[in-house]
Amino acid sequence: MSLETPDNASLWRIAQASTAGVSHLAHHLPCQDFALTRQVTTPDGKTIVFLVAADGAGSATHAELGAKVVVASFLGLVQLALEQGRRLTDFGQTDINHWLAITRQAVDVKAAELGATSHDLAATVLGCCIGDGATLWWQIGDGAIVLGRGPGDYAVACWPAQGEYANETTFVTSANAPAEIRWGLIPHECPRIGVFTDGLQRLLLDYRQQQPVAAWFDVQFGFLAGLPPGSSPTLDQALTTLISGPRFVDQTEDDRTLILACR
């Protein structure tokens, strides 16, 4: 089956933004986060949404590229599996492992081209795929995915950074990535999704309550729901403006990536 880009029959609104942190600007580093979103329609008229983001490691010389390779690989692999007739509800550990293995190979190939090692392209990954009556998410490293059922009703797919030390995480390229990948398949389509890298996790998650900041997500999803369906550079720019605002800049020096999707 082939997946078509939907016309505006889809009800999803999707905005994404990535912006460099002040510590990156100070060191003349580019934004090392990357995100891709996509909305497709199956021949039988089902809409499937893909939201994928990655945070390239600050210490990796080709982190920016690593984040792109990782995001494109995961998104492409999930979409390919669906095009080959797999259903979202069928995916399991074997698929997740397979996507990770192929992605690690893709990083190795890109690293070899550059005369670098895969660690020079180290990046985390956060992915979510919604449609066909299910929500599939997966994650390696920090950052978080917020899944919402409606106003005031949000949960974090996987709480970030469980380690003892703040400046440590797992990357797609880490030796322990296969053991550290987290994923879940929820048997319904979450109507509100937030995906964000670690630069935003202490701003959008309440660490004392171990919950997303529901009031913040309510405001943003409420706003988004009032806009026409689809995605647009204008909307992405508006989200970039939001996460570049003083509230955000005053509290984090890191790169920030945010994807918001709702219907």
């Binding site: 905005a15 510590s23 945070d55 490691a57 600050g58 210490s59 180290a122 985390t124 490293g141 920090d142 950074a161 380690g163 003892e164 030390y165 703040a166 400046n167 440590e168 995480t169 990357f171 670690d198 202490r202 701003l203 959008l204 998650l205 309440d206 660490y207 004392r208 900041v213 009031a215 913040w216 405001v219 943003q220 706003f223 806009l227 204008t234 909307l235 720019q237 508006a238 989200l239 403006t241 939001l242 605002g245 509230r247 955000f248 509290q251 020096e253 890191d254």
Partner: protein, 231 residues
């Protein structure tokens, strides 16, 4: 497009974010204040400490994150200042007197560090940054330092902290080397360049406190020309 209506760019609403406590970056200064430090050494040390506080206080992130304690060893081993952020850090000038109970000083430093980690955990202040223990001495231990050296090595192996030692002038470098974890040799202070040392430490803490996941924080080489160390 036929029917052009003016299009207003969307503006996402401003809304309050989470107010989480800052992630902590614990540092223990472990300083020799034995009698041999009297005179220019203690005076330079005190000035260096002041420069350290001022420099950290100028950095918005380090100010919130660096959690600083001061342990001295001399006439006695003393926690001169409990852990606090830079704002609340105001130890009285140090006075040089007594022996050099370095072993007990190290034990005390590691003990308060462990207690602080437990407090972080109890308060939900995890994760935190890898702690630093920074020892400065101009002499040699007058107590049994071997068990303390073992604690340093064990902690280093367990990744519990980073241990740095600086020897000033007549410091016994052989013993310092045995106290330091393998591969982390002590560094010699150039003259009495305490000020430069503490400015370097401040700059290093700023780098650490803004480091990103799995960053290998690159520290400026203190033995470079103009630096505070000599080889």
């Amino acid at each position: 497009m036929a029917d052009q209506t003016p299009y207003l760019a969307p503006v996402f609403p401003d809304a309050a974010l989470a107010e989480n406590p800052s992630q902590r970056c614990p540092v223990v200064l472990l300083l020799d204040v034995s009698a041999s430090m009297a005179g220019a050494r203690i005076s330079e040390l005190n000035q260096g400490l002041q420069a350290f506080k001022d420099s950290l206080g100028d950095d918005p992130l380090a100010k919130k994150r660096v959690d600083l304690a001061l342990v001295t060893f001399g006439a006695k081993v003393e926690v001169v200042h409990e852990f606090s952020t830079v704002d609340a850090w105001n130890p009285a000038p140090l006075v040089a007197e007594g022996n050099t109970p370095m072993g007990e000083g190290i034990r005390k430093a590691l003990e308060i560090l462990q207690a602080r980690k437990d407090q972080y955990r109890a308060a939900g202040l995890t994760p935190y940054y890898r702690p630093w223990v920074f020892l400065i001495t101009d002499g040699e231990p007058t107590d049994d330092w071997l068990p303390a050296a073992k604690l340093v090595h064990t902690g280093h192996t367990a990744n519990a902290f980073l241990f740095f030692a600086v020897g000033v002038q007549d410091a016994n470098k052989d013993i310092l080397r045995q106290i330091c974890p393998p591969g982390r040799d002590p560094v010699n202070l150039k003259g009495l360049a305490y000020r430069e040392l503490f400015l370097w430490l401040s700059s290093s803490m700023k780098s650490v406190s803004r480091s990103r996941p799995e960053d290998k924080v690159v520290l400026e080489n203190p033995a470079a020309p103009g630096g505070w160390a000599m080889t």
